[in-house]
């Protein structure tokens, strides 16, 4: 079953985000709907430019200056983060929701040792004042938890002295220090080697399970998302087009876009027909009316060009935003 039954920790409703550029207004997010249950791991997949990162950044309200949130609600434990004041938001950022980026160097300060950076974060995220020994203990425990070998040496290293995989582990440790509820991971393993990717993903899966942490993992790699999450949302041009169990969704994709994505990905079985999805992501200045995918869809009909389809529940807990599944 999809996460309907679980109590929602975070719920995004009808999120619309625009960007202002010199050519005009880019209407990127077109009413994103997404929910994360307590302790649930969610995947968000789609081509680059589909709005995945914008969705994540909206949650923490760290969008670039030329972005504007037009509509929608992001309900977190009943609070609307889009309307919460800075103080509440900072509290949430410090203690409850953390984000991991693609490039670990973006989260690490090159001129401070790992020890200092980790201590700072632990201090920041603590509810009261901590004794030096307590901070130290938490820091060591975190680095052990992310399975870094030779914790002592890592503590006294500068970020550039660590390999890419080790840096990402440090970043995860830092995120764990401040994420008590939800972890947002934006392509956390994209720049790493496959065997390191696998280790990091297994580590993340393991740690979040132990701590009952919820996760939103954003990636364009379907395999990563399948490996590490419970439920997957497929995003196309600012819309969620399909939702389902991560292990199932690619096995029997419903939305024509998901079908094309799956068909397009190379398979280890070897019967790959590399065609690619025809066309490209639409221009957000003048996004197509109706279903935004209709310009590339092999099954497009008149209604697809006119009206945005609703999210339609299909058997097996799957949901799909496509007129093909609409029963009159």
């Amino acid at each position: 079953m999809a996460g309907e039954k679980k109590e929602a920790l975070l719920e995004i409703r009808d999120l619309k985000v625009n960007y202002k550029v010199y050519k005009g207004t880019l209407k990127v997010l077109n009413g994103v709907e997404l929910r994360v249950g307590k302790g649930e791991r969610i995947g968000l997949v789609g081509e680059s430019g589909s709005g995945k990162t914008t969705t994540l950044k909206s949650i923490l309200r760290i969008l670039p200056y030329n972005a504007s949130i037009e509509d929608g609600r992001i309900l977190y434990k009943g609070i609307d983060l889009l309307r919460a004041d800075e103080r509440v938001l900072n509290e949430v950022r410090r203690r409850e929701i953390a984000m991991i980026f693609q490039d670990p160097m973006a989260a690490l300060n090159p001129v401070f040792k790992v020890r200092d950076q980790l201590y700072d974060i632990i201090k920041e995220s603590a509810r009261g004042k901590l004794a030096k020994e307590e901070i130290e203990e938490i820091a060591y425990r975190l680095l052990k938890e992310v399975r870094l070998p030779d914790v002592e040496r890592v503590m006294d290293s500068y970020p550039f002295q660590l390999s890419g995989g080790m840096r990402q582990r440090v970043v995860i440790a830092m995120a764990l220090a401040s994420a008590r509820e939800l972890l947002l991971a934006d392509e956390p393993t994209t720049n790493l080697d496959v065997t390191i990717q696998d280790q990091i993903l297994r580590l993340l899966a393991d740690l979040t399970m132990k701590r009952n942490l919820s996760v939103i993992l954003v990636s364009h790699a379907l395999g990563m998302v399948r490996k590490m999450t419970d439920r997957t949302y497929v995003m196309y041009a600012g819309d969620i087009v399909e939702e389902g169990d991560s292990g199932e969704i690619f096995e029997n994709p419903l939305h024509p876009y998901t079908q094309l994505l799956v068909e397009t990905a190379p398979k280890l079985t070897g019967n790959w027909n590399p065609r690619g999805v025809p066309g490209r992501i639409p221009d957000y200045l003048n996004p197509p009316p109706g279903c935004r995918f209709h310009t590339r869809c092999p099954f497009a009909e008149q209604i697809c060009r006119e009206k945005k389809p609703p999210m339609i529940a299909v058997e097996g807990g799957k949901r799909v935003r496509c007129w093909l599944y609409y029963k009159r």
Partner: protein, 327 residues
């Protein structure tokens, strides 16, 4: 189909980089050959020496020892010392089209560069025509030639890079992670383009990649590299059906797959652990022994030799000493 004759031979090639802090053994005694019309894949993680090997074939640097033969001609020298026909016939497509295309130039000038510097064209009219034809060959509209790389998507940029490689009418192309910077959709387009070009022009490819699912689908033979050595080499079907080296099995086990059907192909006896050690101080004996789940005493002392496990399929591992094992 791939022919039998090797178009490229790499014989016991080494590449050591001397640095102030020590010597990096990037490539350490590697041999293989690429047959005319085939796609030969070099697979491994960063630090395995696969890109260094590709760069030696390109002549970006010369090997420390060993020989590289192209159609029988020794090309173990930097590119500027190679005969003109060799330089023309061997081309490269780099990993990231964002950095392999000059950001300040128009697509036309980027694609025409090999034609212009080798004086293969007469005037600007002819340049425009040739470029348009090359762009057509990579399925791009001709009006793209008056755009700059920043105006193009990732897949389009990589297609421009391929068009530039084609300008010299090559026979052999080194593909250095040609799709790893691209989305699945763009990746599929680029791969199908490369496959069509190979069929139509009878090109030979050396594909450098870490993506096993791409290798499975487009390569004919594959060599798995670890810390400067080839640990397993053979036809793609055999290696994927019967991966022998624990490192090959580890790579496969780590591959992100999306279907249950694929998952069943993954080895279950190896769990990815550890990181590739520094090529400055490679571990003694078998270089993989620090991460190998089946490590034995002799692995730490004796370096295994590349032995034939089944016809055409070689592995360098003490597990397969006398009797080639198959599953």
């Amino acid at each position: 189909m791939a022919g039998r004759d090797p178009i490229l031979r790499v014989e016991r090639v080494k590449k050591y980089f001397k640095l102030s802090v020590g010597t990096v053994r990037a490539v350490d005694d590697v041999s293989f050959d690429v047959r005319e019309g085939e796609t030969f894949a070099l697979v491994g993680e960063s630090g395995s020496g696969k890109t260094t090997t590709g760069y030696m074939i390109m002549g970006i640097y010369a090997p420390t020892s060993g020989r590289i033969l192209y159609k029988g001609t020794d090309i173990s020298v930097p590119a500027h010392k190679r005969p003109a026909w060799v330089k023309r016939e061997i081309q490269i497509v780099f990993q990231d089209p964002g950095t392999s295309l000059n950001p300040a130039k128009y697509v036309k000038d980027i694609v025409a560069l090999p034609l212009v510097v080798n004086r293969l064209v007469e005037d600007s009219r002819e340049i425009e025509e040739r470029v348009a034809r090359l762009l057509e060959a990579v399925e791009l509209p001709p009006d793209i030639m008056y755009r700059k790389p920043r105006d193009l998507g990732g897949g389009e940029k990589q297609a421009v890079a391929i068009a530039r490689a084609l300008a010299a009418e090559p026979r052999f192309i080194v593909l250095d992670e040609p799709t790893s910077a691209l989305d699945v959709s763009a990746q599929a387009k680029i791969v199908s383009l490369l496959m069509r070009l190979q069929r139509e022009r009878r090109l030979s490819y050396l594909l450098i990649t870490h993506d096993l699912s791409i290798v499975r689908n487009i390569a004919t033979r594959v060599a798995v590299m670890y810390l400067g050595k080839i640990v397993e080499i053979g036809p793609v079907e055999k290696i994927f059906k019967n991966p022998l080296h624990p490192y090959t099995r580890m790579l496969l086990a780590a591959a992100p797959v999306i279907l249950r059907e694929e998952e069943e192909l993954l080895p279950r006896d190896v769990i990815p652990v550890g990181e590739i050690p520094s090529a400055m101080n490679p571990p003694p004996g078998c270089r993989f022994h620090t991460r190998c789940p089946f490590v034995m005493d002799e692995c730490r002392k004796i370096e295994p030799k590349l032995l034939e496990a089944e016809p055409g399929h070689y592995v360098s591992c003490h597990l397969y000493k006398e009797q080639p094992v198959s599953q």
